[in-house]
């Protein structure tokens, strides 16, 4: 039976440190009793428990209340008009676009983990890829919400699509806003399909373990009759590989396209060729901070410490550090190019960031995105929750502030000083943003409770007892003749 070989480390205690990489034998990715059955049991336990942990109910109550607030705020904004927001002239893009860019960025870690790390054969991704992909899908949902309401008259939103109409008018295919709509539409669909296809074998596990008729029916329909056939696995693995290749292009493409909304305009501070990689790296940075911030409580709350180990947190923090350092480099480069260009408007735009009316946020960004991630150079900080969690949350604050400063400080200091006007969000703006956070957590908590949070089939496939060799001339093969 599979239990003959396990990766159990002799003398291992509850708080085993598996973050050491000695290069010869890598630290185990699955701790505890690592049999196939035990992996199934540990992951299914979360969704099969008759009651969720108390903390789940408290978090769910708060999140759903915020979703209610979101509904009220959207209704209020649509019935009254977008004047209820702080958007003004010349700051026409206020919170809706800030939040849109922020949420799209948060989505990127899931795609990065499930696509790029898969192509690089990083086996440690199996413990965290499923719920990182879930954060992608839910963050894209939150992101899509904002342009939808920002158009002001959402019932005309379909005008963005090339629909034949009596006026004979068509969308402008040169407009970055249309590129953006298509890119986000693509991202939504691709991340949803990637997430769902990856989940099918695990949904079949839920189906086969279900005790009630309702669960059997619902998970049975979702699992599509998956039966673990080798012919199906061959197609499935090929599909996942192709999806990973496509999503790798997409993870680099979506935030690049979002950045063209800014870079294709003529405004100093936006009109820069560095914007596509800048937005993409910032997106991956904030996404990893989010996954780190979610993984720490999730592994505690649902008893998944043997599957989401300290080594996973260690690796997540390392990638956050790398991305944070690239972001720092880009900030330095932006300031340098502004100085080196000799262009007064460009120099003014960058001085406004750190010395203008929003200087506090400018410095907050530099602190949160450049200084804070540097604590991840230290292993103690990477593997200690009370250091890693606040650091990850500060990175998120920093990235949101960055979106705010990029959008507001460029618009509020127009070319002519007579057009200058500061921006202040209203209570409707703040509550809509809070509501979108509530929407994200509502979806995430439902996912944790009712769907396979960790990719069981993938974790099983990296266990030592799942490996075998094909011997064309083995005695067993000869027995067939």
């Amino acid at each position: 039976m599979a239990s003959v070989t396990t990766t159990q480390v002799p003398g291992m205690t509850g708080d085993f440190d598996n973050t050491l990489d000695d290069g010869v034998s890598q630290a185990p990715l699955v701790l505890g009793e690592a049999t196939f059955r035990e992996v199934t049991r540990k992951i299914c336990r979360v969704a099969e428990a008759p009651r969720a942990p108390m903390a789940w109910y408290v978090a769910f109550a708060i999140s759903t209340s915020l979703v209610g607030v979101l509904g009220v705020m959207i209704t209020y904004a649509i019935f009254t008009g977008v004047g209820v927001w702080g958007n003004n002239s010349p700051v026409f893009w206020g919170f809706p676009i800030i939040n849109f860019v922020f949420w799209v960025g948060l989505a990127h870690a899931g795609t990065f983990i499930s696509a790029i790390l898969l192509l690089f054969r990083q086996k440690w991704r199996t413990g965290i890829n499923r719920f990182a992909e879930a954060t992608t899908v839910f963050a894209v949902v939150c992101a899509g919400l904002f342009p939808g309401i920002h158009v002001g008259r959402p019932w005309f939103a379909y005008w963005m699509a090339p629909v034949p109409n009596v006026m004979g008018a068509w969308p402008n295919f040169y407009s970055p806003l249309l590129w953006d709509a298509i890119a986000v539409f693509t991202y939504t669909n691709v991340s949803l399909l990637f997430w769902y296809v990856g989940m099918i074998p695990d949904l079949a596990t839920f189906r086969d373990r279900s005790k009630t008729r309702l669960r059997h029916t619902v998970y049975g329909i979702l699992a599509m009759g998956w039966r673990g056939s080798a012919k199906h696995w061959q197609l499935y693995e090929r599909t996942i590989l192709i999806l990973a290749g496509l999503a790798t292009a997409l993870v680099l493409g979506v935030s690049s396209t979002v950045s063209t909304d800014f870079a294709v305009s003529q405004l100093p501070g936006w009109h820069e060729t560095i914007f596509p990689p800048y937005f993409t790296v910032g997106a991956i940075f904030s996404g990893f901070a989010l996954v780190l911030a979610l993984a720490i409580p999730a592994r505690e709350l649902f008893g998944l410490k043997d599957l989401i180990t300290k080594r996973h947190l260690d690796n997540l923090a390392k990638i956050t550090l790398v991305m944070g350092s690239i972001v720092t480099y880009i900030y330095l480069m932006e300031f340098f190019i502004a100085y080196y260009s000799g262009n007064g408007y460009e120099q003014f735009a960058y001085l406004t960031r750190i010395m203008g009316p929003y200087w506090r946020m400018g410095w907050l960004i530099l602190f949160c995105n450049c200084v804070v991630p540097q604590i991840f150079w230290f292993k103690f900080a990477r593997t200690t929750w009370w250091l890693a969690l606040p650091a990850a949350l500060l990175c998120l604050v920093g990235m949101w502030s960055e979106r705010f400063v990029i959008i507001v400080t460029v618009l509020n200091r127009d070319f002519l000083p007579s057009a200058w006007h500061n921006y202040a969000p209203t209570w409707v703006d703040w509550l809509t943003f809070a509501g979108s956070i509530g929407l994200f957590f509502t979806l995430f908590l439902l996912f944790c409770r009712f769907l396979p949070m960790i990719a069981m089939s993938e974790v099983k496939s990296i266990l030592p007892q799942a490996q075998g060799h094909v011997h064309e001339d083995s005695p067993a093969a000869a027995a067939g003749h």
Binding site: P162, A183, N189, A230, L235, L246, S457, Q467, A476, A477
Partner: protein
């Protein structure tokens, strides 16, 4: 009504689906797969809770056409935009936007890129379902109690009764000889 007494009750005899053999470790399963292939069996399949590396080689599975399906979808997406953009902006309602030409391909590349990825994704996922013949909510193997463990820790080989080399006794003996822990007959 007069012919009613001629109608015989149609009770279909349960058809034999084949044999289901359970294995306890991956290496035995792989060796058994190689042996079954070499013994000339055609209609059989392995069932595992996770993808087994090397299984397609052991079973002699040919590479699928999925990459070509994905390519077709991706090219379809790209050319949709490259055709739609000039159709709308150059022919149906010619309009000059910021002094750019009616038909300027560079400005259409970002959308062609995105739609290419969307087309590839949608095609490859549907290709998976079509080639795997899913969804399929009923399968004879689901009637076996032990087969419920195929999504947990069970590893199986099923040989179908329609296979030319199939014989209830000889195939069963072969599977046992190859290391099967249990062999049972499955009826449809």
């Amino acid at each position: 009504m007069s012919t009613a007494h001629n109608v015989e009750p149609v009770v279909k005899e349960p058809q034999k689906y084949g044999l289901l053999a359970e294995f306890h470790d991956v290496q035995t399963l792989l060796d058994a797969a190689v042996a079954l292939r070499k013994a000339g069996y055609k209609k059989w399949d392995c069932y595992t809770p996770f993808p087994v590396h090397g299984m397609d080689k052991a079973m002699g599975l040919r590479p699928s056409i999925l990459p070509w399906i994905a390519l077709a979808g991706a090219l379809g997406g790209v050319f949709t935009i490259l055709a739609l953009a000039p159709l709308c902006n150059a022919f149906l309602y010619p309009m000059i936007f910021s002094g750019k030409p009616y038909w300027g391909m560079p400005g259409h590349i970002p959308m062609a890129f995105a739609l290419g990825i969307l087309g590839g994704t949608v095609f490859v996922v549907h290709g998976l379902f079509v080639l795997a013949r899913l969804p399929q909510f009923y399968h004879p193997l689901f009637t076996a109690e032990r087969f419920r463990r195929v999504t947990d820790d069970g590893m199986f080989i099923a040989v179908e009764a329609t296979d030319p080399s199939y014989s209830p006794s000889a195939t069963s003996q072969l599977l046992t000889k190859l290391g099967a822990a249990a062999v049972e007959e499955i009826r449809d």
